[in-house]
């Protein structure tokens, strides 16, 4: 084999290994993988099933909050979330109808919320401000109206 061929095979293999080690470490050691909670729920009985019978925000620890949220065409419940800066927020979400998206602009939060499944994702809001929340899975004729904000003070 040509010397240069050996060189680029070695370099490209090395780069691939470095990429996989970095991403693997992030996912399995630091818990930075994509949201992939595996609980299920009867999508027709969301309103009667705990904890979604009482969607809302509750304080569960020292500057740690839990948001139980349902997504439906074309809104988020609750839709007036307010947390102090530095708060860690654990979102627990499910859909009442079709597949919705839950993306918070400017953060790494981007989850698919499917009917029949319970999705979980956490984020620590260090910077104060108004965060735009968007549905990023086409969910029907009012999809473009499906948004809300999270206020961090």
């Amino acid at each position: 084999m040509h010397r240069l061929e050996e060189m680029w095979i070695a370099i490209s293999t090395g780069i691939l290994i470095i990429f996989m080690v970095v991403v693997g470490y992030q996912t399995f050691a630091l818990g930075m993988g994509p949201p992939s909670n595996k609980e299920t729920i009867d999508p027709q009985k969301v309103d009667q099933t705990e904890p979604f019978d009482e969607p809302g925000i509750s304080k569960i620890g020292d500057n740690e909050y839990e948001v139980v949220m349902t997504l439906q065409a074309f809104g988020f419940t609750p839709n007036n979330i307010e947390v102090p800066a530095g708060a860690k927020v654990n979102f627990i979400m499910t859909s009442k109808d079709v597949t919705h998206g839950f993306q918070i602009a400017g953060t790494n939060i981007n989850a698919m919320v499917m009917p029949g499944h319970i999705q979980k994702i956490s984020h620590t809001f260090d910077k104060p401000g108004e965060y735009l929340v968007l549905c990023n899975e086409y969910c029907g004729t009012g999809h473009q109206l499906m948004s809300t904000t999270i206020t961090v003070k």
Partner: protein
């Protein structure tokens, strides 16, 4: 078989097959650099939003 063996030493001296791969490695290096830069940029974007 014998004929092939007889011919093979000659092929090694054939310089046309061992032609310069300079252009190829420059092209491969360019594609590799684009991949590494894009990966690093997305990695940086992700880490800045943690």
């Amino acid at each position: 078989m014998a004929a092939a063996n007889k011919n093979s030493p000659k092929k090694h001296t054939d310089n046309e097959n061992e032609s310069s791969l300079r252009g190829t490695i420059v092209s491969v290096g360019f594609v590799g650099a684009v991949i590494v830069i894009m990966w690093a940029a997305i990695f940086g974007l992700y880490m800045s939003r943690i």
